[in-house]
Amino acid sequence: MKRLEAVNDFVVKFANVNGSGSASANELFAKAILRMGVPVSPRNIFPSNIQGLPTWYEVRVSERGHLGRRGGIDMMVAMNPQTWDQDLRELEPGGYLFYDSTKPLPPSALRADVHALGMPMTAICSATYDDPRQRQLFKNILYVGALAQLLGIEPAVIETLFSEQYKGKEKLLASNIQALHLGLDFAREHLAHCAVGLQIRRRDSVGKRIFIDGNAAAALGCVYGGATVCAWYPITPSSSLAEAFQSYCAKLRVDPASGERRYAVVQAEDEIASIGMVTGAGWNGARAFTATSGPGVSLMAEFIGLAYFAEIPVTIINVQRGGPSTGMPTRTQQADILACAYASHGDTKHVLLFPQDPRECFDHAAAALDLADRLQTPVFVMTDLDIGMNQRLCEPFEWDDSRAYDRGKVISAAELEAGRDFGRYKDVDGDGIPWRTLPATHPTKGAYFTRGTTRDPYARYSEAGTDYLYNVERLLKKFATAATLVPPPEVRPAARRTRLGVLYFGSTSPAMHEALDTLAEAGIHLDAMRLRAFPFADSVREFIAAHAEVFVVEQNRDAQMRTLLVNELGVAPKRLVATLHFDGTPITARFIAQSITAHVHREVTAPKEKVK
């Protein structure tokens, strides 16, 4: 029988029942490999449920540093009888099945082309522990121990992780180490006959990188970026972002002497109230943000239009999930591009940032707060479940202590006192961005009445067509200014001259980078541009113009980014080839490489059309 063999390059998937305590054991497994200097990239695949439904944790081990989802499973840790058949089917031929053999299984329940490794975990736990909860929890540690033995993970590394986790809780530390060794010992004594060809070997390929989820990283970016007001409503997959903001603030923003908190977090009654509070705080000069997902953005739409037209700084972090409607709350997509770019009624357009990993979640969250103040407009950080709720290896966070917050164009009392002319909606600098005053700035000067309806440049109510045109055309000018301030796209040129280009963004990055390597090895070369923001920089138009065909890789059905490119840049739609993945799972390098290869092959083999 074929036996998969690989060192530091394979995929292990854990099939568990949610609520069984498996998450921390699985994370322990991933972290132990990282501590041995080998990059891993884990992904939670979980239900919208608290207890009892299937949940999976897929760990890709890749010494070469490929952090995207690969596709295919080399080893399955099958802990959930409900999904047994499905889990077994997913295994690559020659792969390994690790399972609880307390109850003997008939040969028909197994696969002839897969190596089965049984361990009577339930029996061992029942014999060792009296408490039912302990039996359940330590079963998870038991399999981590056995896997460590089978895959060559150093037990000392896991013990170190335990001692960090259970510092000061010695009893827990001892019982976890005991469970770990039960697993190690069993595998050494009973499973040695089946040499597992998948092995971890110590390397130095992780470097200074950190391992964190994007929601926590974005929350930390908001702390560093100076957000003081966070209003939110719980919604998967964004809830942990607001909660992380609160817990980082509790550590970093509390005055040790007085106990005063230099932040305010309000869990609102719904997303409409969340965005209302953020709008009020932004109007009054505090940096404020909300974190939400697609359905929340839909509810916020009216306010987003108000903030756009009243010109109020607002930061919205959209951790995208599968849509439409309530969609697939625990699955990932990039399907809110158009809903956010043009959110609200009337003529509106909004600034979008597209972080590719937790490091950029941090950077873009802090940048969004600056941009919102500078541009006096809503700014979206468009992350997604894949980045937001999975820990990802990324570059360490950096902060330059000399960096000053850009509070934008705010007129001071002294300037008003000196007689400076103040027209709230007047373009005095030629960039479309007006100056504003904050409430209570000056006793007699600078007050104005903010409205969502039409007004003249001095904020006086006006329904005159000329005043309306002045306003909305100035807003277009402001949007053009935004294109020069947002993070610019990044280009990865092909190794050789090519007529093909590819545009991608956000969580697609790691899969795209791996696919580019694969494609290049197969002789398909593409210049690649990673979009980091909307409005698009001029270089995006130039990139498209410089290639005969440009693939646009995205994770939604309707090619929303492609639509935005066609609409905003006036690009001929034929030049942009939609490459779409939207089943709710994270996009894979295999998918991208196959799609692009198929398209290229079709072109080569198709009868030539007469070139017009």
Binding site: I210, R253, E269, D270, I272, A273, G280, A286, A447
Partner: protein
């Protein structure tokens, strides 16, 4: 509906308050509401209250939703920043503004459509959070700007101008505010300025969620026979339960011991509010009793007015959130950004 602006020039003899402003300094743009609209009387009462309490106009933030009532903040306190937000969502914007700068006076102006229909949820949650604000609903029981539809506060059985009878039960916002934890709840009548001005003053001095339901007849669409929000009907059914005699602004309590039916209520800012009870069975610091009284009178078709409830030791959202005394919008990088060194430590913990 005033077509001629009053001249900006003040008569030199016009009286100034302790912060140096005349009453005229608290006025705003010319009202565009209908002649005789109750809302204009409420605007005038707000002007009067702010002037009398020596509030500096620029220290007030005016927020409103959508509707006739929500237009009024443009017609008073012209030197204050104002924000005419979206329909029914003023409370959340006010809450956010208040979080940003706790030092200002937040004046929320809304209507019955705005607060009892589309914005009932936001109304409720602002009350239960204890946002420090003066929340005034200019309640006429009708949609004016869209020409005469019933609102959610219209009484069951009351008649619209077109003669339609209202089949739905009314929402009593004062009773709701009492139930939801507002710490100052009053009801006034736009036709009784002598009662209304002290109610607004009391709300301004109060530190917590202060709500005033002001019955304010709509002369265009709800002032006819058969309406229960007409001037005549409200005058005939107004049942005042208490009257604010005065608000003593002195930091020390100089008021003499309260005689008989007068109660002295010390406020969080050191002032004293003297209340004169108009009913022997009334205790304005008893939330449940106030609720019983308001609903009891309501069931008999009477409108309970006056200060209905006050919690003397009230606290607000900022106290619950333990925010610093310096407004959040004035904190600088040094107080907000933990810096590179702390970030290095965080990085180290993530490896």
């Amino acid at each position: 509906m005033t077509f001629l602006a009053k001249p900006r020039l003040h008569h030199p003899s016009l009286e100034t308050n302790r912060v140096g402003y005349t009453r005229r300094d608290y006025e705003g743009k010319i009202s565009t509401l209908c002649a005789g609209c109750g809302h204009d009387s409420i605007s005038a009462a707000i002007v009067q209250a702010c002037w009398q309490l020596d509030i500096e106009p620029h220290r007030v933030a005016k927020l409103s939703g959508i509707g006739c009532s929500s237009k009024t903040p443009d017609y008073f306190l012209g030197a204050s920043h104002g924000f005419n937000t979206v329909h029914g969502r003023m409370p959340s914007v006010l809450t956010g503004a208040n979080l940003a700068n706790r030092e200002l006076l937040y004046l929320g102006v809304s209507g019955d459509g705005d607060s009892a229909s589309i914005g009932l949820g936001q109304f409720a949650h602002a009350m239960r959070r204890g946002v420090n604000m003066v929340y005034i609903v200019e309640n006429n029981g009708v949609y004016g700007l869209t020409k005469g539809q019933f609102s959610a506060t219209a009484d069951r059985g009351s008649k619209s101008k077109k003669g339609v009878s209202n089949a739905d039960n009314p929402i009593d916002l004062a009773a709701l505010a009492l139930q939801l934890g507002a710490t100052y709840v009053a009801r006034g009548f736009s036709g009784d300025k002598a009662q209304l001005v002290p109610l607004i003053e009391g709300a301004i001095r109060h530190h917590g969620a202060a709500f005033i339901d002001v019955v304010s007849p709509c002369v265009a669409f709800n002032n006819h026979a058969g309406s229960t929000r007409s001037y005549d009907h409200v005058r005939a059914h107004n049942e005042a339960v208490a009257r604010i005699d005065f608000i003593d602004l002195a930091k020390e309590v100089t008021a003499s011991p309260a005689p008989g039916d007068a109660i002295d209520l010390p406020q969080a800012d050191g002032t004293v509010l003297r209340l004169r009870k108009l009913r022997a069975d009334f205790d304005p610091t008893d939330r449940l009793a106030a609720l019983g009284l308001v609903q009891g009178l309501g069931a008999r078709g009477e409108v309970a007015t006056g200060l209905l409830y006050i919690e003397p030791g009230a606290t607000d959202l900022h106290a619950a959130l333990k925010t610093p005394s310096t407004p959040l919008n004035r904190l600088a990088e040094a107080e907000l950004c933990p810096g590179a060194q702390a970030l290095e430590k965080i990085n180290a913990s993530l490896r």
